[in-house]
Symmetry: C2
Subunit: 360 residues, 2 copies
């Protein structure tokens, strides 16, 4: 009886501990996610961002959340991220929303829009001005969650071998510029071509094309365009290009709440950090270009050219908005927000920058 | 014997489980930190930032990291955060580094400097250009860690009842403007006064002062200055004011690695988010001011005035740098970085903003 009683107490304690232990075992379960990125291996800035995000998530979770990253050499589908994550072939992706315009036209608006918002304006729109909710509306029907994934900063208008002094100088000009900006360029008479990245330098050097647009100093420098084109024009087509993290909805829902929050915050910080790193590396690369190649000259398109490009952009956006109510809602939200936030930018950063002495 | 053997097996299992359970209990230990903020209760933007940070940290840690926040009505020492966190009276603080200039002169440079960097430029400097390392050098001797804690964006130059058309218009002008900017203003002849926030409106209305500088539209709107002063000048004195999180070093070292990372990333995200929220709320408030008070006019100081303020700033910074090698190192780092990054800002965001049509 005494023994049975002792055994009973031991058994009860055992049961209680088993319950405690199984809770801990569950809480300590390791979640392994696979992420496919559009970028090739060791891509500066963009590729660093996925690794930075994964490292923060792993450290914050004490190793419970592990994210393996496949670059495009592994999965062979740089522009198939949307489909692979939707199908659950990968849990996550890192890509640019506007690559999927052909499949889901409304994805376009969440990277950047010609004559749109700068990076700080766009982050304000995403997080406080309704942008996240609109992005969710576009991605939810595909069982995807989408989050801002890093900003390149204001992209440059491109490298030109001749100065552009009028709209006539653009007409018939052979230029590599992809996506929506390419459509706008075509509207004003540019002979738009697309050429694989590996052939860009030779094409520009041999005159197969007269001009091209890539990203900004940090990513343009290793391409070497500054050695064969003197005029580097300020941009209008991607004033704050944000890439995206995509997550399969079932993967997201399989994560406990703490890991969801760790993942959400790691992505958010990595995205902001990419903008800071882009600012840093663009400034370094621009300095280097100018030191090594004093012939490289910064230019802005004359007002006549900017007006024509702006009119073409507005025409095409109006056409898109007429096709679909959700497109109309997104375009309206961005235009209204831009007008409001730009007035503030104008009396703050713009007024301040305009009042400072020239540095060159 | 059988009973003893069964008991032995039970006891062994029990011991194993106890060991497992005690590990889990340790891992599940709740850390409760106390944070003192400079701000009063329910302060918009600044006070939201501490709560946002604490909420992220709690959720990411599954409740293991809990941060209680005391506003200034509780601790009664809005400008004593540095001392209280250093002494361990509080584990953490949320304040502006430059409030402690009188105690540790080098703290001044980590909030903002007249004619210094904008928020995106300064984040690039902090995280990629050596700023964090310099801030650590200043805070480490006080057993404090310091992290960026949120940016107000570009602060406005202030509310003036008369237009400023020349440097003579500033001479003898009675203006409330505290800190280093006040010293610069005094250099060009302004009669600088400091007045408690609660008396500012009445002082301006009754002409005890002719002008004042507060923050920007979002925090100026509730103060009501736009009802009694028509001229709202763009700023030069705080082009990207960053507040700070301070942490007591022993508190930091008492946290396990995963919670350190959770805290670090929560602070980093909350800081960036404050900049996005400031951008959003400043744009809303500026729109509201203009709609409700059409007499409110945006102004920029004439170049002559800006040149005088810039020369006075450079003179004072040179004086400070001569006093202490670490000051010289910080001033040199900021000036060199500004020159590099501003050249990039000028060909990207500034060129883009300058090319856009006026919105008013």
């Amino acid at each position: 009886m005494r023994i049975r009683f002792a055994s009973f107490k031991l058994a009860a304690a055992l049961a209680a501990l088993l319950s405690l232990a199984s809770t801990s075992v569950l809480a300590d379960k390791t979640y392994r996610l696979n992420l496919a990125e559009t970028w090739g291996p060791n891509t500066p800035i963009l590729g660093e961002t996925t690794r930075h995000m994964a490292a923060m998530a792993e450290k914050m979770s004490g190793g419970r959340l592990q994210i393996r990253i496949d670059s495009s050499n592994k999965h062979k589908a740089p522009f198939g991220i949307f489909d692979m994550v939707k199908a659950g072939q990968y849990d996550m992706g890192h890509t640019a929303s506007y690559y999927y315009k052909g499949k889901v036209p409304n994805t376009m608006y969440f990277t950047t829009v010609p004559f749109g918002m700068t990076a700080p304006e766009q982050y304000a729109w995403f997080y406080y001005g309704g942008g996240m909710e609109l992005m969710e509306k576009v991605y939810a029907p595909h069982n995807l969650l989408s989050f801002p994934g890093g900003n390149t900063g204001n992209q440059m208008g491109g490298w030109f071998r001749k100065e552009i002094n009028s709209i006539e100088d653009l007409q018939g000009l052979k230029m590599r510029t992809p996506g929506f900006a390419g459509e706008v360029m075509a509207e004003v008479g540019v002979a738009v071509t697309n050429i694989p990245p590996g052939e860009l330098y030779t094409s520009l050097e041999r005159g197969t094309i007269d001009a091209l647009e890539w990203v900004g100093p940090a990513l343009d420098l290793p391409m070497g365009f500054h050695r064969i084109a003197n005029y580097y024009y300020s941009g209008w087509q991607e004033p704050g290009a944000e890439v995206q993290f995509l997550i399969n909805k079932r993967t997201w829902e399989s994560l406990p709440e703490d890991l969801q929050e760790i993942l959400r915050v790691a992505m958010r910080t990595a995205a902001y950090d990419m903008y800071s790193e882009s600012t840093h590396l663009n400034s370094l690369a621009w300095q280097q270009m100018k030191e090594e190649y004093p012939d490289v000259t910064h230019k802005v398109f004359p007002p006549e050219v900017m007006d024509a490009l702006r009119a073409a952009t507005e025409k095409l956006l109006k056409q898109e908005a007429a096709k679909d109510p959700l497109t109309a809602e997104i375009v309206e939200s961005q235009e209204t927000y831009l007008k409001q936030v730009r007035k503030w930018t104008n009396i703050s950063d713009k007024a301040y920058l305009d009042s400072q002495p020239a540095l060159d």
